[in-house]
Symmetry: D3
Subunit: 191 residues, 6 copies
Amino acid sequence: MHLHVVHDRQMTYDGRQLAPHWIYRTFDLVGDAVVAFIGPCHVELSEMVDIEDVKADSPIFSPSMLHIIAEFFGIDLHLTVYRQRLLIIIARELLEEVTGQSILRRGDDLYLSRDDGMLGKLSVSIATSSPLSTLIHTGFNIETEGTPIPTVGLAELGVDPLGFAETLLQRYADELQDIWVARCKVRAVRE
Amino acid sequence: MHLHVVHDRQMTYDGRQLAPHWIYRTFDLVGDAVVAFIGPCHVELSEMVDIEDVKADSPIFSPSMLHIIAEFFGIDLHLTVYRQRLLIIIARELLEEVTGQSILRRGDDLYLSRDDGMLGKLSVSIATSSPLSTLIHTGFNIETEGTPIPTVGLAELGVDPLGFAETLLQRYADELQDIWVARCKVRAVRE
Amino acid sequence: MHLHVVHDRQMTYDGRQLAPHWIYRTFDLVGDAVVAFIGPCHVELSEMVDIEDVKADSPIFSPSMLHIIAEFFGIDLHLTVYRQRLLIIIARELLEEVTGQSILRRGDDLYLSRDDGMLGKLSVSIATSSPLSTLIHTGFNIETEGTPIPTVGLAELGVDPLGFAETLLQRYADELQDIWVARCKVRAVRE
Amino acid sequence: MHLHVVHDRQMTYDGRQLAPHWIYRTFDLVGDAVVAFIGPCHVELSEMVDIEDVKADSPIFSPSMLHIIAEFFGIDLHLTVYRQRLLIIIARELLEEVTGQSILRRGDDLYLSRDDGMLGKLSVSIATSSPLSTLIHTGFNIETEGTPIPTVGLAELGVDPLGFAETLLQRYADELQDIWVARCKVRAVRE
Amino acid sequence: MHLHVVHDRQMTYDGRQLAPHWIYRTFDLVGDAVVAFIGPCHVELSEMVDIEDVKADSPIFSPSMLHIIAEFFGIDLHLTVYRQRLLIIIARELLEEVTGQSILRRGDDLYLSRDDGMLGKLSVSIATSSPLSTLIHTGFNIETEGTPIPTVGLAELGVDPLGFAETLLQRYADELQDIWVARCKVRAVRE
Amino acid sequence: MHLHVVHDRQMTYDGRQLAPHWIYRTFDLVGDAVVAFIGPCHVELSEMVDIEDVKADSPIFSPSMLHIIAEFFGIDLHLTVYRQRLLIIIARELLEEVTGQSILRRGDDLYLSRDDGMLGKLSVSIATSSPLSTLIHTGFNIETEGTPIPTVGLAELGVDPLGFAETLLQRYADELQDIWVARCKVRAVRE
C-alpha cells in the first residue's frame, strides 16, 4: 500500500478527488494507496455522494483541512466502510495521544468539547465505490472560520497537520497489514 | 442480529464454543448473533486456532472472564477480522467512559497500567472461519489470579461485567447496522 | 427489508424508477426495500434495459399497472434474477388462490387464458444491476386497453391491486427471510 | 449441466449421498450435475444436516422415494437455497399439470390434500455446502407406508416417477440456463 | 462459450468495440463469447482504457490487425487478466508451432526478432471491466506499415490470420473448459 | 508474496505438504508464499486430491523431484487453477530458454521428446482448496529411475534444480504482481 503526504503545495478538495485513479493520475502511484494533503474544502451538492446529505441540502465547507484520500482496488464497499471506520478510530487514538484531550466518536465523525461548551465537529468522512475500486475521503479541519456548523480545528489543538498525517498514514497501513496477517494465521474450525 | 447476555449461569470457555452453530445449538438463535457469558477460560493447545500461539506454545488461562462469542453467516474472514477489531475498539471506548481510565489498544488486545507500574493485559481475542460462517471470541478478564502473564480484570476496575456486556453488545449491533446503512446510502462515483 | 405500498397517489412507470436509490430518494427508505404503486407504464426504447427487447424494438405500454420495484444492496445480479423469479412465482401462487384460475408461468412472465381463447400476458418483469445494488421491476396489468399484445388485467380478474400488493410484498419478504434462515441452519458436509 | 436419471437400479438414500463428488464418483459426471434415482430413504440423526431437525430429533424415513441430488461447483449456499426453491417450484408446477390436482407449497415442502382430509407431505428437501461445492437433496415419496407423519406418494397420484424425473430435470436445467441468459442480456443502470 | 470468426467482412477496431454487449448487439451471441475479425486499428486517447498509455500519450495504430474480443459475464477483473494472459500464451504457443520461430512474451505482449535485428512487437492487448462483465481485446498485427514503433505482422510470418484465429479460439475455449474441470475434480484439503 | 528456496536439506513430498499453513508451520512465513525444495515424491492414493487420479488408481512416484508449493490466502480455487497454469507456463518458458529444447504443454503437464523417441513427462501438478486458502503443488522430475510412466528429468537436461527454482519463483512472483498492476491501471468501460 502506497503512502504519500503532500508537503510542497496545497490542493482544494471539491469532491472530484474522490474518483477512481485520481491518486494514480496525480501522484503516479498504481494500486492501493492513501495520500494526505492540505487545502480548502468546498463540495457542491452535485459532487456529494452521501445521498442523506444531498437530501438534507448540506454542502460541506472548510477554509483549511487536512484531507486523506484512500483507494482500494477491491469493490466490496461494505469492507471499505469498515476500513473507513478504522481510519477514523486510529485518528482519534492518535489525536488523544498527541493532545491529551478526550475525543468523542459518533460513527465516522469526531468531536471535541470547545471552550464555549459546545461540541465541535473535527472531521468529515465518506466512503464510496467506483467501477473498479472503493474510495475514502476524510477531512480534518485545520482552520474553522466560516464553517456552517460548530467545529474545531487541528490548529487550535496545537497539532501539526502534516506531522499528524505522516504518523496516521503509517499506523493505518500497519493496522491494515496486521488485520491481513490475523486473517492468514488462524486455522479454521468445524462442527 | 441477535443479542443475548447469559445472566443465570456460568459457562467455561475451552475453545469448543468457537464453533459453527454453537450459539444456535445452545441458545436457539439462528442467524447472525452475539452472546456474552461469564466463566473460566482454559484453552488447550489442541483447541487453539491462532497458529502463532500454537507455535509459541501459549495456552490461555483465566479464572474468570466475560466471554463474547459472535457468529456471522458470511464466509469472508477478512471482513470478520475488521468486525473483531471494531468489537475491541467499542469495548475500549466504553471502558474508558465507565472507568475514566486510559486504555491502550495494540491490534486486537487491550491493556491498562497496573498499580505495580506494569502494563496489564485485559483481553484476548481471535477470529476464525467455519465452513458456513465466521466467528469471533473475545474474553475480558474479570479475576486475574493465576494468569500466566501480567493482567488486569474488570473486578479491580469496578466494572460490572454483565452490565458492561449489555451495553457493549447493543453498541456493537448499532455500529454494524450503522456501517451497513453507510454502505447503502451513497451513490457511486466514476472516472 | 422495507415494504411499502403507495395508497395515496398514482405514479407513472417510465423506466427511470429502475434506478439506484430511487426508493430512498422517493420514500426515504434506506437499504433493501420493495415498494408497490399503481400507474401507467410507458417505457421508451432508450430507457429499456433488456437488450433483447431493444433489438426487437419492443417498447412497453400499459394504461394502468401495479408496479413492484425492489432494490437489493448486493451486486450479484445472478442472485437477483433468482429473487425476481421468486417474486413472479409467489405472485402466481397468490393469484391462483385469489382467483381460482390457473395461471401459466413461462420464465418470468405470467399468462392466463382469455375469454377469446387467446393467452393473455399478465405481467412484465426485468432485473438489472446498478453500481452498488441490484434492482427488479415487475408490472401487473390492471387495465389492458391499448396494449400492443394480447393481455389480461387484474381488473377483469376481480383482483384488488393494492390488497394483492400488500399480501404479495409480505409473502415475498417472508420467503426471502425463510431462505436466509435455511442457509443459516444447516451444517456443511465433506468428502 | 449434466442430467442423469437412473433407470436400471434402486439406490438407498441415507444422507451419505449428499456429499461432494458423490455424483462424480458414482456416475463419472464432472461439474454441475443433477441426478435422479429411486430407492428407500432412511437418514439417521448423525447424517442429518438440518440442525433444526436434529434439535427436534426428527429422523427421515420413507419406504420408496424419487431422489434428486444436485451439485453446483460454486460455494454460495445462499444462491443454492434459491436453486433449491426453484426445483421444488418446478416440481409443483409439473405435478399440477400431470395430476390436475392443487399442490400446496410451504417454503421448500410440498403438500396435497389426502382422502382422509389431512394434508399429506409429498417431499423433503435440504441444501447444504461442501468445501468446494453446494448440494441439494430433494425426495418425493413414491410409497408412504410407515412414514412417521401424514404423507402422500407419487404412486397414489398415478405419477410415473422416472418419467416425472426426466421432465423435471430437463425443465430445471432449462430454467437455470434461462436465468443465466436473463443475467447476461440486460444493460446496467446508474444514478 | 460462443466462438465466432468473421470471414465475410473487415471491421475497424477503434476502442468502442471493447464495450459490454458489443458482441451480443453485433453478432447476436448472448453470454460468454470470443470473436475474431480483421481490420485496421486506430484507438484515440479518449477511447483508451489503459491509463498508463494515456499518461504516456501513446495512441495505438495498425493498418491491419487480427482482432480478438472476448466478453465474460463475471465481474472479477483480476480473473479476467489471468484469462487475458492465457489467450496471449496460447497464441504464442500456436504461432511457434505454425512458424517454427521463437516468440518472446513480456507480460501480455508478444515480440519477434526482425530481419533488421530489432525486436518487433506483434500484439497489443488490454483487459477491462464493464458494469456486468469483463472484456479483453487482443490485436495481432497483420500488416505493419506506418506503425509508430517497430512491429512484425502475421503476413510477413506467412500466417493466415483467419485460419490462425479459428485454431486459437478453439484452443482457448478448450483450455478455459479444462481449467474449470480441474477446479471441479479435486477434493479439498484441511489442516 | 514470500519466496523461499530450501538449499540446506531434502524433504519428501507425500501429499501432506499440500495443506493449509504447512508453509507457515515449516518456514514461519505467514501469508501468500511459494517455496521450493528437493526430495522424493511418493503420494499414496489416500493423500491424492485429484479424484480423476484416484478413480484411475494412479499413485505418483519419483525418486527425486523439485517441488514447488504455493499457498494463496484467498479461497477462489478457479482463480488459483489459473495461477497454477501460469506457474507451469513460466516454467516452460524458462526451461526452453535454459535448455534450448522445445517443451510441450498439455494443460498443466509438461513433456519433452526423449532420446528413445517417446514423449517424456517432466512434471506433475495439482491445485486445491483448504478452508481458508488455496494451494498448488508442482513437481519437476530431477531423476526418473523407477517412475511408472515415461518421464524426463532436469538432471538429464543439464538443469540445476535450485538455480532453476530461484529464477522460476522470482519470475512467477513478478508475473503475479504484473497481473495485479494490470488490473489496477485500467479504467472501466460502459454501454
